[in-house]
């Protein structure tokens, strides 16, 4: 966990905190505090004590044992240590933890360039969908197929550590692979005619002059075995000689189970006629049986025809493109065509050149199917499923570094990192070409690629995923705001969708137009639909021409930046009540990257500590809460920020009066003494100290791009990104480009050399099962 108050202390100028983590302070107060509170268990003289941070006698020792000390800070910060009824005061706790974190932060850039290590990552479901679309032209409904992905570490679904692959997920991949193969390739519909004498029990074929009919006695039955490849509906067509005198029925059975009776009406002219029974048949072999009714019957044939829906031109095009055939063409040499197809498809599917052994592996699947007599298309479909289940397709596995040194990534790995970062999909042809030409370590090529990729409409995937998860606005319309009948006059699913999309378009604009990242705090413009104009109650000030989202200027500055988004404000509210605490915590955590620690145990609930009168306002209740010193340390920071947003109600709409009619009081004062009133002034305060915001944004973008949690060594990289941003006019593209050019993005170091203490601990081997021996 990162500095909670350090940053804010600098930002807001709180006097209680040290300006710098000096050596003298360590000796005079930090070490004594830790010795008094920790030494009983973490005795440095005890050889069996492995948590021996108290062995650090000098302040410099903290820097050299970074992992251990970061852990100490985290434990202190979270109040997980010292345990139970330890007597450490809140002041001492904060004093110590702030010093340690400040020391770690300021000394972070002294070592060598840090690359870090990224474990293999499963494609998350967005990436899976996009990759399948770009590889095979098949668009899937992923929400139906896969459960939502976990987001861990730094809060994104790109985080490899939390992209689990439990057996249930693998089953879904098997299912998806089958669906994709069925959608990508069109197998000719099964159409099999079984003549009367071919039915079991078989009889010799009739002579040339004889009628091809077979006489059936009442109750007599004939059957045939068929193999069905695709799960589908089939028409079972039974052809008999028309009854001249008495109508009759024929029963149809599948696998011994009667599924219907076909009735044949009388026709004095006789002649062949057919009736159809539809049946759903699973992949596999089936026995179809025809059972004669109560009359003598002349039976001609049984036809089994797959009822395939008409195939669209698009699907046909995909089919032939994938097979590498002209429309209507069939392969002359199927085996050679199959091998050629795999050789072409595999490098793109695995996003890496493949050895011939890899092609052999897939070809073996094809052969398995082809040798038992499946059709060419069926055999290719089968092999395709193997490709889609391969770890090389499902995972992004980077070429292992063989040395213990930090190594540059392969050009193909860089191509994938770029495309999944900015497009959430596989590399396109151009990226593959540059990878092949080994140009993707060239900074100028990379910079040019970043620009090209951001200009592409595909970069919307990045905007949506990044901003929705960072701000949390993707929750809007789901859990975050309940759909209640009493809200429906202004809040509908369409409004929710617009509220969710508003930050996405805004963010996309920041990089397509290369705006300043500070626009996130104070942009005077936004994107609205007519519905949102109404929602924000701006009909008299903004009129849109035409449907859809349009870029508009806010009529005044009260809503500038993300703090004006109704989505953000609604998300940080309780039901029917805006919450200054949640909003304050949101600003600290999301915009400033300073997680708020959990409340200490045994905190009296808000209402109990404020139970002085029944009409207490939120402001009064919070003030009473802060009288408790344990609460005050954090609430002194959270509450004023949140109170500055009191003009926004629980749905994020503007209000001048409270529910009880009294005017809204949106004034706040920070511990440093800085006063403000309302969102405009609050924003100015935040903007005046933008470094923490820049650091947070850089941390988040880097974390999203890398797909891992923040590690200790990243602090230096982040500092570098912030410096570049400051030098370059805060342009959004500068940030994205510099992330791509950063050491962690282009290099990898072996996992063993990475400090094991990260903001998210590394995955350990499963413990032995409880209850087992």
């Amino acid at each position: 966990m990162k500095a909670i108050l350090t940053g804010v202390a600098m930002l807001l100028g709180a006097q209680t905190l040290p300006a710098a983590a000096s050596d003298a302070t360590y000796q005079s107060s930090i070490r004594p505090i830790l010795e008094a509170n920790c030494a009983a268990c973490h005795n440095p003289k005890n050889p069996r004590n492995r948590i021996d941070f108290l062995k650090s006698e000098q302040a410099q020792d903290v820097e050299t044992r970074r992992g251990l000390w970061r852990n100490v800070a985290t434990q202190l910060r979270n109040r997980t240590m010292p345990p139970g009824d330890a007597k450490i005061s809140e002041a001492d706790r904060l004093h110590a933890v702030n010093w340690i974190e400040e020391r770690l932060r300021t000394s972070g850039c002294t070592g060598t360039e840090y690359a870090g290590y990224v474990p293999p990552r499963r494609l998350n479901r967005r990436e899976y969908r996009n990759t399948v679309r770009d590889l095979l032209g098949v668009d899937l409904d992923i929400a139906e197929l896969f459960p939502a992905d976990e987001s861990g570490g730094i809060g994104f679904d790109t985080n490899g550590e939390t992209l689990y692959l439990p057996p249930m997920m693998l089953e879904r991949y098997i299912e998806a692979a089958r669906k994709i193969a069925d959608r990508a390739l069109i197998a000719a519909p099964l159409n099999r005619v079984v003549l009367s004498y071919e039915m079991n029990p078989a009889t010799p074929p009739p002579g040339r002059e004889q009628k091809p009919a077979r006489a059936l006695k009442p109750g007599e039955e004939l059957s045939t075995d068929i193999v069905v490849f695709s799960e589908s509906q089939y028409a079972l067509r039974v052809s008999v000689e028309r009854p001249r005198k008495t109508a009759f029925t024929v029963e149809v059975k599948v696998d011994g189970i009667a599924i219907g009776k076909l009735s044949y009406g009388v026709d004095s002219n006789g002649g062949a006629t057919a009736r159809v029974q539809n049946a759903n048949l699973a992949r596999g072999a089936h026995t179809v049986t025809v059972v004669n009714g109560t009359e003598d019957t002349q039976f001609y044939s049984l036809t089994i025809l797959e009822n395939q829906p008409p195939v669209s031109a698009d699907r046909r095009a995909i089919h032939y493109a994938l097979l590498g055939l002209e429309p209507g063409q069939t392969p002359v040499n199927p085996d050679a065509s199959a091998r050629r197809l795999f050789a072409d498809l595999l490098p793109r599917a695995y996003r890496h050149p493949v050895a011939s052994a890899e092609i052999d592996r897939i070809f073996a699947l094809y052969e398995r199917s082809a040798r038992r007599g499946d059709s060419f298309v069926e055999s290719i479909k089968y092999a395709l499923q193997g490709i889609l289940l391969s770890p090389k397709f499902l995972f992004r596995i980077e070429t292992a570094a063989e040395s213990r040194e930090t190594q540059p990534l392969s050009h193909y790995d860089i191509a994938s990192r770029l495309s999944y970062f900015l497009w959430s999909t596989m590399p396109d042809e151009e990226l593959f070409r540059f990878a092949e030409q080994r140009k993707l370590r060239d900074p100028s090529v990379l910079a040019q690629q970043v620009d090209r990729m951001l200009d592409s409409p595909r970069s919307r995937a990045f905007a949506d995923a990044f901003v929705g998860q960072w701000l949390g606005t993707q929750e809007i319309g789901g859990r975050a705001v309940p759909l209640l009948t009493e809200l429906q006059h202004f809040y509908t699913p369409e409004v929710a969708a617009d509220l969710r999309e508003q930050p996405q378009l805004f963010f996309q604009y920041l990089f397509t137009a290369n705006r300043s990242v500070l626009d996130l705090l104070n942009a005077p413009y936004t994107f609205l639909t007519a519905r949102l104009v109404k929602y924000y109650e701006l009909e008299d000030k903004i009129s849109l021409n035409g449907p859809g989202f349009q870029k508009v200027d806010w009529p005044d500055s009260r809503r500038a930046g993300v703090l004006g988004f109704a989505s953000v404000l609604a998300m940080t509210s309780h039901y029917k009540q805006a919450s200054p605490v949640l909003r304050g915590a949101w600003v600290l955590e999301t915009l400033l990257g300073t997680p708020v620690p959990p409340p200490p145990p045994d905190v009296p609930p808000l209402e109990a500590s404020a139970a002085k009168g029944t009409q207490a306002t939120v402001r009064q209740m919070l003030a009473a809460h802060r009288e408790n010193t344990a609460c005050a340390s954090c609430h002194n920071l959270m509450d004023p920020i949140g109170l500055g947003l009191e003009n926004f109600d629980w749905m994020g709409r503007w209000r001048d009066t409270e529910a009880n009619g009294s005017p809204v009081d949106a004034s706040g004062a920070l511990p440093s003494g800085e006063k403000f009133n309302g969102p405009v002034e609050l924003r100015e305060v935040l903007l005046a100290h933008k470094e923490e915001f820049l650091r947070q944004l850089a941390t988040k973008v880097l974390g999203y791009a890398l797909g891992r949690g923040q590690q200790d060594g990243d602090h230096c990289v982040v500092q570098g990104l912030v410096t570049k941003l400051e030098k370059d006019g805060y342009h959004m593209r500068t940030l994205l480009r510099e992330v791509v050019l950063s050491t962690p993005f282009l290099y990898s170091q072996p996992a063993e050399t990475v400090s094991t203490v990260t903001d998210g601990p590394v995955k350990r081997a499963p413990r032995r099962l409880l209850g087992t021996k």
Binding site: N78, Y117, P119, E144, P147, S151, G152, G153, G155, E161, T162, Y164, L165, P166, P167, M168, M169, I174, N200, D225, V227, E231, S232, Q233, V254, D255, I257, I259, N278, N280, A282, A285, H286, E358, I362, A364, R372, Y382, G386, S390, P391, F395, A400, R479, P482, H574, Y575, P595, V596, P597, E607, E752, G760, P761, K763, R764, A765, R767, L770, G771
Partner: protein, 456 residues
């Protein structure tokens, strides 16, 4: 193995329902003595309700075996002879810290849930349902079946103790680091029951039998291939990479084992007759109650068809924010109403929501009770554990968890009374008792001190 009627309906394939799941047909033909259990097996389901209860509306007064039904239990009055009210159990490892998130994984494991930032979930233990799945799951097509309503939550609840919210979404854990996702989409859950039942061998033609045998192994052959590929990748990769590949490898093995098991004749219980349940349409039902009941119906079908014997169901995830305004007199979401601050009007709404849950349970148990199998009912051959991880939703009280155990457990339970254990008895004692009843011989589980006494 399922009943003929639905098999027939499936084959007839009404209208556009093209991809109806494929029920086994071999059932009728091949299910002779060797593949058939002669008596119904024991099934177990654990059903979780979030956000606690109102204690005095749950626990009856007095301390005898007999008791007067309380308001929360009122919907179950007609089934009073079919369940045990179990009192005074708790999960000591969950005391304090956060009121919701860590208490969910611990509910069936008794483990101490670590506070992490999400990169490394640690539930502190394997849950008892998953232990059973690993030990006896091979006997049925699905080793276990996890169902629920809410999609998993993400992020870390920094304001609430620094726990990943995901902890509150997973009741079942295959090991301390591996949550087992639950099915929340009815159609997917339904299809899962029938996914393995492919390619019936009915034909007597030897040639097509060979084709069928080959087709049946299509999936396992695919998995063989990717497993080899993973193994060769693993041998070339760094230590760090290996951990992730191992997870993949293990999942492949697990699915393969299941497919293999489904090809072997499994000795299963076959119910003749009808259990009408159409394949659900895609997506999630529009109303909460329809969603809950459909999932419960699917669970019922899973037990009835002996597709699994171990299941979990989450009526809601921890801190469920499900909006219950559909209940008369209720305006708002479950979790926020659970913190009613003893304000009578708010508390009354909360009580209605809790009692709604026991209504759904009663609906489910009634159905189980009405299904005859063997010498009794499906409920007689089951153990349905229902309850939550906190006693009092308003205060997150961990003692004396609200729990009830329905069914007769194949004669190993004596329902129709209350069982008052000594105060602060480990909840894991009950788990151990259930594990043993399911035929797994363990001497301890979690923080158990002994198998819970007095169930029979």
């Amino acid at each position: 193995m399922t009943n003929r009627i639905s098999r027939r309906n499936v084959l007839k394939g009404a209208g556009a329902a093209l991809s109806i799941p494929w029920l086994e047909s071999a059932a009728s033909a091949a299910a002779t003595g060797a593949d058939r259990l002669s008596a119904p097996p024991l099934r177990m389901a654990c059903m979780f309700m979030p956000n606690g209860v109102r204690p005095d509306h749950w626990t009856p007064a007095g301390d005898g075996e007999s008791y007067d039904i309380t308001p929360h239990l009122k919907p179950l009055e007609g089934l009073k002879s079919e369940f045990l009210l179990i009192e005074n159990l708790w999960n000591k490892s969950t005391v304090g810290r956060n009121g919701h998130w860590p208490k969910v994984p611990a509910w069936l494991s008794g483990g101490f849930v670590d506070r992490t930032t999400g990169g490394d979930l640690d539930s502190g233990g394997t849950t008892m349902d998953q232990l059973l799945a690993q030990r006896i799951g091979g006997a049925t097509p699905l080793p276990s079946f996890e169902l629920g309503i809410d999609s998993p939550r993400t992020g870390v609840d920094t304001a609430g103790g620094g726990f990943p919210r995901a902890l509150g979404s997973f009741l079942s854990w295959a090991d301390p680091h591996t949550p087992v996702p639950k099915e929340i989409v009815p159609q997917l859950a339904f299809d899962r029951l029938f996914r393995n039942n492919r390619a019936p061998v009915v034909s007597t033609n030897p040639q097509s039998q060979a084709v069928v045998a080959a087709l049946q192994r299509d999936e396992t052959s695919l998995l063989d291939m990717v497993r080899e590929q993973a193994a060769s990748l693993r041998s070339k990769s760094s230590k760090g990479d290996q951990a992730r590949l191992d997870e993949y490898f293990e999942s492949v093995r697990s699915v393969e084992r299941r497919l293999e098991a489904s090809l072997r004749p499994q000795k299963r219980w076959i119910n003749e007759g009808k259990l009408p349940l159409e394949r659900p349409s895609p997506g999630v039902p529009a109303t909460h109650i329809d969603h809950v009941r459909l999932m419960l119906d699917i669970l019922l079908l899973a037990f009835w068809t002996d597709s699994t014997r171990v299941a979990t169901f989450m009526f809601g995830d921890a801190q469920s924010a499900q909006d219950y305004s559909f209940l008369p007199g209720v305006k708002g979401a479950f979790h926020s109403l659970s913190h009613h601050r003893d304000i009578p009007e708010t508390r009354a709404q909360y009580e209605k929501i809790v009692t709604w849950h026991t209504e759904q349970l009663a609906w489910f148990l009634d159905k189980m009770h009405s299904l005859k199998e063997g010498d009794g009912t499906l409920l007689d051959h089951s153990m349905i554990l229902f309850g939550g991880s906190i006693k009092d939703g308003n205060r997150h009280i961990e003692e004396n968890l609200p729990l009830l155990l329905a069914g007769r457990g194949n004669g190993t339970l004596r329902p129709g009374r209350r069982l008052r254990a000594a105060p602060k008895t480990p909840y894991c004692n009950l788990h151990l008792a259930l594990i043993n009843r399911m035929g797994v011989d363990e001497k301890s589980f979690g923080d158990s001190t002994a198998a819970l006494d007095g169930l029979v």
